[in-house]
């Protein structure tokens, strides 16, 4: 952690820190909700129980935890892609010769 000077008005996280935060945090929130909804309907002990005798998870707590991190991972991937697309987009449509021509013909 950087040791601070007195308040100088320059209070900003580095870009990388912002990126990590806005990928990890919203996906954490979404994963929490997804875990709740999923396991309200599905008992982790019954996953994989039908076809083969050993269930997929030995205890429910393992099932919940694995489920939560799975949801976190896939929602984080989605956040990451969204962030990437938003960050790499041109702020404005690039100006082309064609566009210039069209403006001229309108005039």
């Amino acid at each position: 952690m950087p040791l601070g000077e007195e308040y100088s008005g320059k209070l900003r996280w580095p870009r990388l820190m912002q990126d990590v935060a806005i990928v990890a945090w919203p996906s954490f929130l979404v994963a929490s909700v997804a875990t709740m909804v999923c396991f309200a309907f599905i008992d982790p002990l019954l996953i994989g129980h039908d076809d083969y005798p050993p269930p997929a998870f030995s205890t429910r707590m393992t099932g919940y935890a694995v489920g939560f991190f799975f949801f976190w991972l896939i929602s984080a991937l989605s956040s990451l892609l969204t962030l990437y697309l938003a960050r790499t987009a041109h702020p404005e449509p690039p100006e082309t010769d064609l566009a210039k021509d069209e403006t001229r013909s309108v005039e």
Binding site: P2, G4, Y7, W13, Q18, A40, F41, R60
Partner: protein, 460 residues
């Protein structure tokens, strides 16, 4: 590229500077302290309260049952939780429309825990200027001791927070015993450290940056605002032009406003903004600047309220309205949802059933001319008392039911599986027909549930 865009680029190379909010006393800070004590008091004490021989509030995930005092919720009652979340969201909208970001300043866990961590920091490192001096000072033994003591307090408090969190999901007295004996399970250990670690980093280091970069509410709360929403605001009309002046001097003749430009409002701000620049989304409405400014106004002998809670209409001198379409709509919706929730909860069925066909055989033709199907009936008793259940089946002429009866005892909060044989005279049907199952308690006939299953017979 425009101005803010360029500033953002600059952010790439700039380390965040830590904000040392100046400590401040005043009426709103007293309210905030009370809120911290009440909310954290509830959080840390609730799992220790007992109710009818068990933990009063226990979200028993291993057993898939939620206990909330006298109420036990099952996975089938999940929609109550959804309903509660909708009510919580709507309450947030309502209070935001009414009084701005009350939640942020007084009740948000991020604020509440950050406040606690700030107290611990002040306890060990002293006030704002002492903290800044310590940060600049070389590493002496005293600095090491102070920083070490702060870390010890922070880590201990964070671990206690993580322990309490897990105590909502696994009985807390058992958990405490396991921790004392180093016998916690792997997941218990993991979640204590996970939640404790999150508390430590969020409240110790990330602090106001969470509100600025990570909080969605901070970005969309302005959608609930209108000109009658209570906000923390600087009265520019009265304050400007700001400037230093000698005490008791006739500043008005020099063309100065009431703001003496002491920057106290900036120094106390936990998010490091200047309220005099107007409403900003970084403002978490903690009202520290109000208390700071009031204190200064008292000292220089000006009336309080240069920075105050007010509405945009209030500042413009227009009549304030609390009752307006926005608040009325939110309030009505909230009342309907709350009423519906209470009614649904009190009418919730406390018995339930599930009928599953036996998979091993479609049907059996008996020598006495009956066709038999076997089912597995699951009786669910969500009530706090045990009940005796009758099982009946109807829907076909001459139908017979056979189970280990005449009644089945199911304990409180228990599920009981009962193999049930259903017989119908051969020739009565062909192929498949739906039959109705019903369970009913012997002591309270209104506690009943119904289910449906397919009865199969040979065709022809």
């Amino acid at each position: 590229m425009t101005g803010p865009e360029a500033e953002l680029e600059g952010g790439l190379y700039e380390a965040r500077q830590k904000i040392y909010p100046r400590e401040i006393e005043g009426r709103f800070q007293r309210w905030r302290a009370i809120a911290v004590w009440v909310l954290l008091g509830i959080y840390y004490l609730l799992p220790w309260i007992r109710w009818g021989g068990r933990q009063a509030v226990l979200f028993d995930l291993p057993a898939r049952k939620f206990h909330i005092f006298g109420l036990t919720l099952w996975p089938q009652d999940f929609y109550f939780l959804t309903w509660l979340l909708v009510i919580a969201a709507l309450s947030l909208f309502f209070f935001t429309a009414l009084a701005g970001r009350l939640f942020c300043g007084y009740a948000c866990p991020q604020t509440v825990w950050t406040e606690t961590f700030l107290w611990m920091e002040r306890l060990v490192e002293g006030n704002r200027s002492q903290q800044m001096k310590l940060a600049k000072a070389p590493w002496t033994l005293e600095k090491l001791m102070r920083k070490g003591a702060k870390q010890f307090l922070w880590i201990a408090f964070a671990l206690w927070t993580g322990f309490t969190f897990v105590g909502y999901f696994t009985p807390i007295t058992e958990l405490a015993g396991k921790i004392v004996n180093f016998a916690t399970g792997p997941w218990e250990k993991f979640w204590v450290l996970f939640y404790g670690g999150a508390t430590y980093f969020n409240a110790g280091f990330m602090r106001e940056q969470v509100c600025k970069y990570m909080c969605p509410y901070a970005r969309f709360q302005s959608a609930m605002f209108d000109k009658d929403t209570l906000i923390i605001t600087y009265d520019a009309e009265r304050g400007e032009p700001r400037g230093a002046r000698k005490k008791g001097s006739d500043y008005k003749s020099r063309g100065l406003g009431d703001c003496i430009d002491c920057t106290m409002c900036v120094q106390v701000c936990p998010t490091g903004i200047d309220i005099r620049k107007g409403l900003q989304y970084e403002c978490i409405a903690c009202a520290a600047c109000i208390d700071a400014c009031d204190e200064v106004m008292d000292k220089v002998g000006y009336p309080r309220g240069l920075v105050r809670y007010d509405t945009q209409h209030g500042l413009e001198g227009v009549k304030k309205r609390v009752l307006r379409p926005r608040t009325l709509v939110y309030a009505t919706l909230l009342a309907v949802l709350l009423g519906g929730f209470a009614v649904a909860l009190s009418n919730r069925s406390v018995v339930g059933m599930d009928v599953i066909r036996d998979r091993n055989a479609l049907y059996r033709e008996r020598p006495d001319g009956l066709v038999e199907n076997v089912y597995n009936v699951k009786i669910l008793n969500k009530d706090a008392a045990s009940h005796e259940f009758h099982i009946t089946v109807s829907g076909l002429p001459g139908i017979e039911v056979d189970y280990a009866g005449p009644t089945v005892l199911v304990g409180p909060g228990q599920v009981q599986s009962v193999p049930v044989r259903v017989r119908v005279p051969r020739g009565g049907i062909s192929g498949g027909v739906d039959v109705q199952f019903a369970i009913e308690t012997t002591d309270r006939p209104e506690l009943r549930a119904e289910g449906k299953a397919r009865f199969l017979a040979p065709t022809g």
